[in-house]
């Protein structure tokens, strides 16, 4: 179940990057948080924006990924535990 979800996430993430649905700010934000492991204050400082903007970017990135994932799962006829 978990591996299945991560495989679909990987494809979803590639799709989103390939189609450019995630903006540069969104991608950078995701990268700084989940690759670099930076804190909210650090990400805000690097992106030169308020902390609330970072939260909003993360929220929208999450929504886009989930929407794309949902479409993918619907196309494949399964939707295990994906909620928006």
């Amino acid at each position: 179940m978990f591996e299945n979800l991560t495989e679909k996430l990987q494809r979803t993430f590639k799709n989103l990057r390939g189609q450019g649905k995630l903006t540069e700010e969104h991608r950078e934000c995701l990268h700084l948080v989940f690759y670099e492991g930076m804190s909210l204050a650090e990400v805000a400082a690097i992106q030169r924006c308020p902390e609330n903007t970072v939260k909003t970017r993360l929220f929208h990135a999450r929504q886009k990924i989930k929407n794309c994932l949902r479409l993918l799962l619907e196309r494949e006829g399964s939707a295990p535990g994906v909620e928006s």
């Binding site: 978990f2 979800l5 991560t6 996430l9 990987q10 993430f13 590639k14 990057r17 995701l30 990268h31 700084l32 948080v33 989940f34 690759y35 670099e36 492991g37 930076m38 804190s39 909210l40 650090e42 690097i46 939260k55 993360l58 929220f59 990924i65 989930k66 535990g81 994906v82 909620e83």
Partner: protein, 206 residues
């Protein structure tokens, strides 16, 4: 309200940058709301995928490429010239011809104007000496360092490449004034960094 706070804190809980009090709050929330674990699992999966989909970069990364990567893709001089004259509906070859004609005309006019003072003026070509003043942070990256790792690492210390790589692969990084030691300490702890030291500036080439 609690749900909103949980959603706000979860990314930082997953990446480990959350403080102890908030971590305890999230742990408590997860214990009270077993359904929320699905969201935690989702973020953990996302983190795993992001860490695995970072593109690799050749070890022979050069300064110009690194600078372009850090500053973003910028058009080359030829592309900019072409775009500029393209705005006037001119082909690049015609545009270059026009530039050449203007250049020659300019040279003739300048020659005529300066002839009277020719004996008084002596021009000497001097070698420009452009040495970056320090302090800078001299960094040696691991040969298998990925482009994204280097880029993000420099961003994390607010650093800008100002020189390198030298024969030994040294890069010179400028960081905000007064933050050199702090940046060096942060860089030292990273696995893609082989050596870090403070440098008074970029040594001039012979």
């Amino acid at each position: 309200m609690n749900n909103e706070r949980f959603a706000e804190l979860l990314p930082w809980y997953v990446n480990g940058s959350i403080d102890a009090a908030d971590r305890a709050w999230v742990d408590n929330y997860l214990a009270e709301h077993p359904d929320a674990r699905a969201e935690l699992t989702w973020y953990q999966s996302l983190q795993t995928r992001i860490q695995e989909t970072v593109p690799a970069v050749p070890a022979t990364i050069g300064l110009s490429r690194a600078m372009n990567l850090i500053r973003g893709d910028q058009p080359t001089l030829a592309e900019r010239i072409s775009a500029f004259f393209g705005n006037f509906g001119m082909r690049p070859a015609m545009a270059l011809s026009l530039v050449a004609i203007i250049f020659v005309q300019g040279g003739v006019i300048a020659k005529m104007m300066s002839q009277a003072h020719e004996d008084e003026v002596e021009m000497r070509a001097l070698r420009a000496k452009t040495v970056e003043e320090g302090p800078l942070v001299k960094v040696n990256f691991a040969p298998d360092a990925k482009e994204s790792d280097i880029r993000l690492l420099l961003v994390s210390v607010r650093g800008t490449l100002t020189g390198g790589p030298g024969q030994l692969g040294d890069y010179y990084v400028r960081v905000p004034a007064g933050k050199e030691e702090q940046a060096a300490a942060k860089l030292k702890g990273k696995p893609i960094v082989q050596a870090v030291e403070l440098a008074p500036g970029i040594p001039p080439r012979d």
